[in-house]
Symmetry: C2
Subunit: 195 residues, 2 copies
Amino acid sequence: MTLDFYYEFASTYSYLSVGRIEALAREASVDVCWKPFLLGPIFRAQGLESSPFNVFPVKGRYMWRDMERQAAALALPPLVRPDVFPQNGLFAARVAIALPDEVRPPFTRAVFHAQFAEGRDISEEALIAAILRDLGRDAEADRAAALSDANKARLRERTDEAAQRGVFGAPSFVTRDGELFWGNDRLEAALAWAA
Amino acid sequence: MTLDFYYEFASTYSYLSVGRIEALAREASVDVCWKPFLLGPIFRAQGLESSPFNVFPVKGRYMWRDMERQAAALALPPLVRPDVFPQNGLFAARVAIALPDEVRPPFTRAVFHAQFAEGRDISEEALIAAILRDLGRDAEADRAAALSDANKARLRERTDEAAQRGVFGAPSFVTRDGELFWGNDRLEAALAWAA
């Protein structure tokens, strides 16, 4: 049993799922396929020029407070709100998609931690390189693979695939029979469906 | 300990909370203050001409599927999607706000059941009158009270109050110390905070 896990590096609630999904999936005996994608094109297709949390500021204010509470409830470090939201996660997503499957989860966790626990700017290539080196990777080789035309195309195709499966936000979870679950709050239900 | 429960009669996820809140609140030893309000003015203040589920159809399609699953998970009758969404809940909200406190919960439950389990049109005064009579009420007197200028003003004030407390969707829960929780998924957390 497999569950596709669509996440966007700038997405606050994706951060929560990134930290929870592995232990919960093990318990449920479900394999997780980590699928970084881009929300920007999906938002634009809905007529949104930015994150709904920016387009609707009253909702954005609530989200930041809710995230503080959620971080506390999940015993995560105090949430650091990035100076700019949403951050530009394009480079991180390209790197993530180019990495071997077994490196993608720890890389993803480290990028989200840098962003929401340390307030770092994840669009900085130096930060991404440092994370890769910490994981024992050749950061220059990973950068080159990430920026290849073929890899850029893979990320575009992944984003198109997400849109075709009905994804409109992140995190989203899709089972092999096409059942879509949206939001960190639906992670357990998605795993139960997949199992 | 008290929790303010803001709900809108046309709101799908409000239906889920209406069915769950009393038992959960009893368990948590929290008193619930049932506060019907109108989402229309709140959506318009955000620049939305209709429910976000209509403005963003891909999100709307997901919501209906999610509601089907949620109804099944909560052992509710199979969800009936109303012919028109959102329904016009103005009259039901006016009646609800005019009723004595102890009648508001059973009236509210009956209206939501008629809408989402039977597919009835809750803007029909005859339906609301039948629900009131089933509750042993004088439906004509309740109608008159609902349509008084003072009662109409109360509903407007209630909606303004919700907006001032940061409410942007329904259901929403607000604790006495001003903590806002949005969505049926946050009901347990809201009760825990209130307690």
